[in-house]
């Protein structure tokens, strides 16, 4: 028996909560997204489950639901990015569970969701998120420097298909008579899905992710997330601009019409 190692490991297991699950990394990614996208919104609020500002962020310890705002226990906090009543208002959460198309629940390590959808759940009994996310990230963090098994990315592909089933069709055949008419579908810009890992991804894993529109970043370090944040910022900002341009009350539309 290596007593010194056993003692140090005992201390580590007690003092470093959430190590195996990579909770510190989860918090880092959550906070960095909020700070990076902050300038695209009017206000950023860090809120407890009651919707009140807090300086103590409670990070979800395991996959879970949005709690009811009436809960009196220790419940997870979230970050709100708000553009007021006519703009975008979204929330960032960690380890949040969503309803899949099959009815099975699926967790995203970090997710952005519509505030309106979250509020409906929060004002009721609490529960899973009934709509797809705007942004979803999977973090695989404790197999550093190994090559991830293909099954891990395969599992995330299933999750993405479950949460956003219509996202994967490029065209559909329409009509009762043959040959049916092939119609291009309008692929939505959102949701954006990301797969982040400090491990390597094999060629087949990368191909699988790319085919289903999952952005992947391998060999990552916690202090080296700039490339990821840059990609999220660019795609999110473009998507948000396109989306807002379509809104009838958008000021640019108003000016053009006058």
């Amino acid at each position: 028996m290596k007593e010194a190692l056993k003692d140090a490991a005992d201390e580590l297991g007690v003092a470093v909560a959430g190590l195996k699950a990579g909770k510190a990394f989860e918090a880092v990614v959550l906070f960095r997204i909020a700070l990076r996208l902050d300038h695209l919104f009017d206000q950023l609020h860090v809120l407890n489950h009651n919707g009140e500002p807090t300086t103590e962020f409670v990070l979800r310890g395991a996959p879970g639901h949005i709690p009811t705002k009436y809960s009196t226990g220790e419940e997870p906090s979230y970050i709100e990015l708000d553009n007021g009543p006519v703009g975008w208002s979204v929330e960032l959460h960690n380890s949040l569970e969503f309803d899949g198309a099959s009815g099975v629940e699926h967790e995203l390590d970090v997710a952005m969701i519509w505030k309106e959808a979250a509020e409906q759940v929060r004002n009721g009994k609490g529960g899973t998120v009934p709509v797809e996310p705007i942004l979803g990230l999977e973090l695989k963090d404790h197999a550093a420097h190994a090559t991830l098994e293909k099954n891990l990315i395969r599992a995330f592909v299933t999750c993405v298909i479950e949460l956003s089933p219509l996202r994967h069709f490029g065209s559909i055949s329409v009509g009762r008579e043959y040959p049916r008419k092939e119609v291009e579908t309008r692929r939505p810009w959102f949701p954006l899905y990301y797969y982040l890992t400090p491990a390597s991804l094999s060629g087949p894993s990368r191909r699988l992710a790319e085919f289903y529109g999952i952005m992947h970043f391998a060999n990552l370090a916690p202090s080296d997330l700039d490339s990821v944040m840059g990609d999220i910022h660019l795609k999110f900002a473009v998507g948000k601009a396109i989306f807002e341009r379509r809104l009838p009350h958008h000021p640019i539309d108003g000016e053009a019409g006058e």
Binding site: D7, G18, F57, A62
Partner: protein, 133 residues
């Protein structure tokens, strides 16, 4: 698949009896994935043990160093959001605050112990093989 040196088996057993048993599983997988090397002479056995000790060090310390970096990054980031603490919901250990400096201290102690123990093991293996010759 490599046969694991008795010295390494002791490390794995010690980790398995701690809350870090998952690290033992991770390390054992990595050790078994090494190629079996010839062990006919003392020199070959010392070299095989050395390779295994280094692989054990990498397997165990990579996730620990990753956590250290994440914790340090979190401590730097959180104040930018006006946060004083980041509490892990349902944490049974102490402290539950992911920004606590005790986390970094415990991680640093663990890294130092691993390095010190592995240095000892290199000596133990040499003595063992020297005695066996």
């Amino acid at each position: 698949m490599a046969t694991i040196d008795p010295e390494l088996l002791e490390y794995l057993a010690s980790l398995r009896e701690s809350p870090m048993a998952w690290l033992a599983e991770l390390a054992e997988q990595r050790l078994k994935a090494l190629d079996e090397t010839p062990r006919e002479t003392a020199g070959q056995r010392i070299e095989a043990a050395h390779i295994q000790l280094q692989e054990f060090r990498r397997a165990v310390l990579e996730p620990i160093k990753f956590e250290r970096e994440a914790t340090a990054e979190l401590i730097e980031l959180a104040p930018n959001l006006g946060l004083k603490s980041v509490i892990l919901e349902g944490a049974t250990g102490l402290p539950a605050d992911l920004m606590s400096p005790h986390r970094l201290e415990a991680i640093d102690r663990f890294i130092a112990v691993i390095d010190e123990e592995l240095r000892k093991s290199e000596r133990i293996v040499r003595q063992r093989e020297g005695e066996a010759e």
